[in-house]
C-alpha cells in the first residue's frame, strides 16, 4: 500500500522519532510504514489520519 506519511511528516518538519512519540509507537514502526514495508492496523491508520488532519483515503491508497 502506498502512503503519504513521509510527505506529510516532512511538511511539518517532524523527525520520525517525533512522529513516533505522537503516535505512541516506535521509530522503527514509523520508518516501516513510510517505506511501505508495513501496513498499519486500522486504529493506527486512524491515529495517523487524525494527527495529520486528513481522511484515511488521503493518506493510504492500494498499490496498482
Amino acid at each position: 500500500m502506498r502512503n503519504r506519511v513521509r510527505e506529510l511528516r516532512t511538511q511539518r518538519e517532524w523527525s520520525q522519532a517525533e512522529l513516533a512519540e505522537r503516535l505512541d509507537v516506535s521509530r522503527q514502526t514509523v520508518n516501516a510504514i513510510e517505506t511501505g514495508k508495513y501496513d498499519p492496523s486500522l486504529p493506527l491508520a486512524f491515529s495517523l489520519a487524525r494527527l495529520f488532519g486528513r481522511r484515511i483515503e488521503e493518506l493510504f491508497e492500494p498499490e496498482g
Binding site: 512519540e21 522503527q28 514502526t29
Partner: protein
C-alpha cells in the same frame, strides 16, 4: 516515546539476566559435591529453577509494552525459535533411539530457544527496514 519493546540491551534486563546466570552457575557449583536427591541438592535446584523463571517472566512481561509492529516481529521470531527447537529436539530424539548419545534437554532447551529467538529477531527486523 513508547519504548521499542523488549530490549535485551536494557541495563535492567541485562543485570537481572547476569545475576540469574551467576545464581544458576553458583548453585550448580555448590551442589556438585552434594549427594543427588539430598534436600540441599534439591533446594539448590529449586533456586536455579526460580532464577530461570524470573528471567522468563520478565521477558514475557516486557513484551506487553510492544507496539503492533514489534509484536509482529517477535511473533515471527518466536515462531521460528519454536519450530527450530522442535526440529532439533525431535530430530535428536530419533537419533538417540538409533544409538546417538542422550542429551539433557532440560538444560539446553532454553539457551537453544533464546539463540534461535535472537536470530529470528535479527532476520525479522531487517525485513521491515
Amino acid at each position: 516515546m513508547r519504548r521499542a519493546g523488549l530490549d535485551c540491551r536494557d541495563p535492567r534486563f541485562v543485570g537481572v539476566a547476569l545475576v540469574a546466570a551467576v545464581v544458576i552457575a553458583g548453585a550448580a557449583w555448590l551442589g556438585r559435591e552434594l549427594p543427588p536427591g539430598s534436600p540441599a541438592r534439591l533446594g539448590l535446584a529449586v533456586v536455579q529453577a526460580m532464577a530461570t523463571t524470573l528471567v522468563i517472566v520478565l521477558t514475557v512481561w516486557g513484551m506487553r509494552g510492544l507496539d503492533e509492529l514489534q509484536r509482529r516481529i517477535h511473533l515471527e521470531a518466536l515462531a521460528g525459535a519454536f519450530a527450530g527447537t522442535a526440529i532439533l529436539v525431535s530430530g535428536w530424539g530419533f537419533l538417540e533411539i538409533a544409538g546417538a548419545p542422550a542429551v539433557r534437554w532440560g538444560l539446553w532447551i532454553w539457551p537453544i530457544m533464546s539463540v534461535l529467538w535472537a536470530t529470528g529477531l535479527i532476520v525479522a527486523r531487517r525485513r521491515y527496514r
